[in-house]
Symmetry: C2
Subunit: 201 residues, 2 copies
């Protein structure tokens, strides 16, 4: 998922002077995935990209900008996974089950970021606004899947708007309570969520 | 729920010099319920209690302390409601349904406080630790009800720990998305949550 962009070869002692936002996003996302929020800093990204901090500061002046970049990466990755899944399955039950699995998995992978996002602090405000806009699109896409599940009797008859938010909330809140040390896998948690609400045929 | 503690009569022009924590909690909770997080300040509490700010500052030096007091009030109120409910019903389905209703109602009433709590910021750290401790007790109590619901076939067969957190999360997350302007009532939302997961007999 995180790719190293090929770098033009250069001689020793000649540090890179140009970096792309794509490079920064890949490095920041990799650091975030490996070590969480704490692992993310201008210094650690600069080191990973083998550029000087001064060079990186020109592109990314603060940690808030870095968080914004990770946020954009995370949302577009999640959207891609959802779109791929929905393009692949036609059965309403499988569509909903897949969405729950993808969302629980994302909740766990981004758990260190959750408090930052929900608190609404620490994120560059432009990025936070983009995230809120994305959240609304994401919810609409979920809602379409929930509506089809209700029509097919896979979910109990209910208001699709409220049902969407309840099911999505169930998955999102996993960010809050998941602890690797407890030994539950993303798959087990998602499977329990699916069993609780999905009426398989 | 919020009661005015009787105040010893005093002549005009003689401001109160002594206030109890109970008075402060009632006033702060009432302000918080009426106007949310924004309505809560040392000034507004002092005004409601008809004491000088200087007097209140002696008992409650900062807004963080006020938040801590509201938090303690909220958790003990929620615990009381849950205990009363569980003492009243013996049917496992009614027990679980009532917990969901109480939790959704609490989620809506405290929605302005949610980001503050989840973000873990803005709360006096002692109060935050007390809240975390309370949360664990609250979750254990929920878990007992979930276990009985699973045994009775009211909830689908599942890991009770994971099922508890998923159902609790579904209710807690209502804090995040509830908007009065959308016209859904706490009862409608709780009813949808109950329908999604509870198998009534």
């Amino acid at each position: 998922m995180v790719q190293q962009t090929p770098v033009t070869p250069r001689g020793p002692g000649r540090p890179r002077r140009e970096i792309s936002m794509g490079d920064v996003a890949d490095a920041a996302a990799a650091l975030f995935n490996e070590g969480g929020y704490e692992a993310l800093s201008i210094e650690s990204v600069a080191e990973r990209l083998t550029v000087s901090r001064a060079t990186l500061y020109r592109t990314v002046p603060t940690k808030e900008h870095l968080l914004g970049i990770v946020l954009d990466w995370y949302t577009s990755d999640l959207s891609s996974r959802v779109e791929e899944h929905l393009a692949k399955v036609s059965n309403p039950s499988e569509a909903l089950e897949g969405l729950i699995r993808i969302q629980v998995d994302a909740a766990i992978r981004t758990k260190d970021y959750f408090a930052v996002l929900v608190g609404g602090a620490g994120v560059q405000s432009d990025a936070y606004r983009r995230w809120q806009k994305w959240s609304r699109r994401h919810e609409r896409m979920w809602r379409g899947t929930v509506e089809r599940a209700i029509s097919a009797g896979v979910l109990v008859e209910s208001d699709p708007e409220v049902a969407t938010r309840l099911v999505l909330g169930m998955a999102l809140w996993v960010s809050r309570w998941y602890r690797e040390s407890e030994g539950y896998t993303a798959e087990e948690i998602a499977e329990t969520a699916v069993n609780l609400i999905v009426h398989r045929h």
